[in-house]
């Protein structure tokens, strides 16, 4: 059965086609049922595959299936080939598992929507594309999934088509992603040009042979990895392409949970880890990734501090956490990055779904400051979200603690790490705890906000069950990656075959540092998180006037934070606006209509003018005509004069 793992793609695709083609005329129950069933089937199938997979010896945990040759032109070949290895296995499980829960949640959340068939079709398509992305056996097929999830993201962000903002956000997401994709493509070209293949297996093997040692400086590998990383910044919303993700919250909340928190945005992380064989040989690029990760994490966390929109807070949090993951990758801790990806998928999905539950209750009121006091009416939501918050904030012993702690530790401990990363990570951890607790206090505590009373309740089991399951997962998922002082890091071992061609910097080996130091570092992180939480409690649970006063006193700073350091505005003004002006005023009106077409029409009118000259010869006067004849004769004489003698 395991060799048919790629059949996991079939149910979501079938679901997509079913809902897309005939869903419009079917009742909502069938539509949503089909959507859930497709993802569920895929998940179950993959569980079965996993059961078999886990039993294989480590060296056999690399199954390639070649379906057909997709593109072939001369020496260039792109197969439609699938790869199942621990990395894709774990990704697939997360995608379909979390995806299934979110499908189920959606049946309730999206109830009554007219375009339900579209929604589920897109969602299934997304699961298909995301699975394709992680299952792909070469860069080009990966790119198919890569673009495919971008497309689904576009469709789902723009799901509420009548909203202009949704359309804008969708378009922005796609176009910004395309910038990254373009770089990705260039990376792919360079890979082919350099190594002549795009298949992961043979490529990594070749690389390990031709480039046994990492080289610093601007090598070919550095160029490749840099280009791929630029692609990853698009998908994973890192600096400089982070601007689309906050806007992407225009989509339905479950979509935000699935695509813009749990799965799609982590594709960048996946890409880097998948290419670990390349990245591990380009230390300078790794450093850059770490720097970008840290900066993004800091920037997003700071921005999240002041957001009023509940989903925006979560969105910035996501960016920040992704930055964390990249920091891990940047210090060479690839499996740690995946570990955080794994845990993050649960708690961030949970948080978004919780937020969705709040929105359902409040009829899509997004402003945190108009909420409050929901803890009584939304009990399940409240406590599950606390679990999620705690996990995100890295409170022991929830999953987030382990993964985040490991990242911080690697940043300090890895030969590629640096204490600065660690310190920055600590700050982000504190900030995270602060803004998450701020969110919780604002939403669930204090006096009820405007427009809603104490009455009202949870939306139903379709909502609460996924919340509960995710809360459970968020709580315990850390067990797969216990730190050395607590036990076995199973994830590391599981993922080990993935990195067989990577250059081993000795990241996980430990550098003579003792467990105690690691323990100390973990304690520090925990302490900082608790500090952040406490501060939030002080500022938002008890007396909310301080933040307001702060904001009033430093409007510039507040605005800057609120506007994400105004990067987005700069982009839209200078890049987008600039291009529009360039296109409309310069290229179209001036160059195309003015110069190029002007030259054409100008030639035409020039000919008309010359025509006027030619017809002016034709005055109608016979004597003038005679003069012309004499002129002609004179010209002949003139020539003959020059010839004769």
């Amino acid at each position: 059965m395991i060799e048919y793992f790629w059949l996991a793609l079939v149910p979501p695709l079938a679901g997509f086609l079913f809902n897309g083609l005939v869903g419009k005329r079917l009742p909502a129950r069938i539509v949503s049922g089909a959507g859930c069933a497709a993802t569920g089937a895929s998940f179950l199938f993959l569980l079965a595959v996993f059961a078999e997979f886990i039993r294989l010896p480590a060296e056999e945990q690399q199954i390639v299936h070649r379906l057909f040759t997709w593109i072939q032109a001369g020496t260039f070949t792109a197969e439609c080939s699938f790869l199942l290895d621990p990395l894709s296995m774990i990704m697939l499980l997360v995608i379909t598992g979390v995806g299934f829960l979110i499908h189920v949640y959606s049946t309730a959340y999206m109830e009554g929507e007219t375009g339900l068939y579209r929604y589920f079709a897109y969602l299934n398509l997304f699961v298909f594309m995301m699975s394709l992305l992680v299952m792909a056996g070469n860069y080009l097929l990966l790119f198919v999934g890569w673009e495919g999830v971008g497309l689904c993201s576009y469709l789902l962000i723009g799901y509420y088509i009548e909203r202009k903002s949704a359309g804008d956000a969708a378009k922005k997401a796609f176009v910004v992603n395309r910038v990254g994709d373009a770089c990705f493509l260039l990376g792919v070209f360079l890979i082919f040009k350099t190594f002549g293949t795009l298949e992961f297996g043979s490529l990594f093997e070749t690389v390990s042979r031709t480039h046994p040692q990492p080289e610093s400086g601007f090598t070919v590998l550095a160029a490749i990895t840099l280009l791929l990383f630029l692609g990853a910044t698009g998908k994973s919303a890192q600096i400089p392409l982070q601007v689309w993700l906050p806007d992407a919250m225009e989509g339905p909340t479950p979509v935000s949970a699935l695509i813009h928190a749990a799965t799609m945005v982590t594709a960048g992380v996946y890409l880097v880890v998948r290419s670990a064989a390349l990245y591990s040989r380009a230390p300078d690029v790794l450093l850059l990734i770490a720097v970008v990760g840290v900066l993004t994490a800091l920037l997003a966390a700071l921005t999240a501090l002041v957001q009023r929109d509940i989903k925006k807070v979560l969105a910035y949090s996501t960016i920040s956490q992704l930055g964390y993951m990249f920091m891990a990758l940047g210090v060479g801790a690839f499996s740690t990055g995946i570990f955080h990806l794994f845990t993050h998928a649960f708690f961030k999905a949970l948080l978004f779904l919780g937020a969705g539950s709040v929105l359902l209750r409040l009829h899509h009121e997004l402003d945190l400051f108009r909420m409050g006091g929901l803890r009584n009416s939304l009990k399940v939501t409240c406590w599950t979200m606390w679990v999620g918050t705690a996990a995100l904030a890295g409170i022991f012993p929830l999953s987030g603690f382990f993964s985040k702690d490991e990242i911080l530790w690697r940043a300090l401990d890895s030969p590629l790490g640096h204490p600065v990363f660690w310190v920055a990570g600590l700050v982000v951890a504190g900030l995270t705890a602060f803004y998450m607790c701020r969110l919780m206090f604002l939403a669930f505590y204090g006096s009820p906000g405007h427009g809603h009373g104490e009455s009202g309740s949870e939306a139903g089991t379709a909502v609460t069950a996924p919340l509960a399951i995710l809360a459970g997962a968020a709580a315990v998922a850390g067990v797969v990656g216990l730190p050395a002082y607590l036990g076995d890091h199973r994830l590391d071992h599981f993922l080990a075959p993935v990195f067989r061609y990577s250059y081993d910097h000795g990241v996980s080996a430990g550098h003579g540092a003792s467990h105690s130091l690691e323990l100390l570092a973990g304690g520090a992180a925990l302490a900082i998180s608790l500090l952040g939480a406490g501060l939030a409690y002080r500022l938002y649970a008890r007396d909310r006037s301080i933040p307001r006063r702060l904001a009033n006193r430093y409007p510039g700073l507040h605005g800057t934070l609120l506007q994400q350091f105004r990067i987005d505005q700069a982009y839209s003004r200078f890049v987008v606006g600039g291009l529009k002006v360039l296109s409309r005023r310069v290229l179209w009106r001036a160059v195309d209509v003015g110069v190029v077409d002007g030259a054409v029409n100008g030639t035409a009118s020039l000919f008309r003018r010359w025509s006027g000259v030619a017809t002016r010869m034709q005055s109608g006067n016979t004597r003038t005509y005679a003069a012309w004849i004499v002129t002609g004769a004179a010209l002949v004489f003139l020539y003959l004069y020059s010839v004769i003698d």
Partner: protein
């Protein structure tokens, strides 16, 4: 008795020809223009005859007959057309004949 060189006859022919050309361009009266053409034809005839003498041939004399015939034929048709012009516009001024132009 010295013979006048042929060149002098040729020169006279050229002068008359040029006078004819000038007359054609300068004059507005259609008949005068036509007379200028006749002048040009006579200049040609003189040239023919001058060359006939230098070549010692009579062929050129015959050419002159033909030219005269042609001149007569042209005169017949031309004067008929001039009569037509007068009938249409009661003028012989060529400068007024410019209905067709452009």
């Amino acid at each position: 008795m010295g013979m006048v060189p042929a060149t002098h006859y040729l020169a006279l022919g050229a002068v008359l020809f040029v006078i004819g050309v000038a007359g054609f361009i300068v004059r507005r009266n259609v008949i005068t223009m036509f007379m200028s053409v006749e002048l040009m034809l006579n200049a040609v005839n003189l040239t023919f005859l001058a060359y006939a003498r230098t070549w010692n041939q009579v062929d050129a004399h015959i050419f002159v007959f033909f030219v005269m015939t042609v001149a007569a034929a042209e005169a017949a048709v031309g004067l008929a057309l001039i009569l037509g012009l007068d009938r249409h516009s009661q003028t012989l001024d060529i400068d007024t004949v410019n209905r067709l132009q452009g």
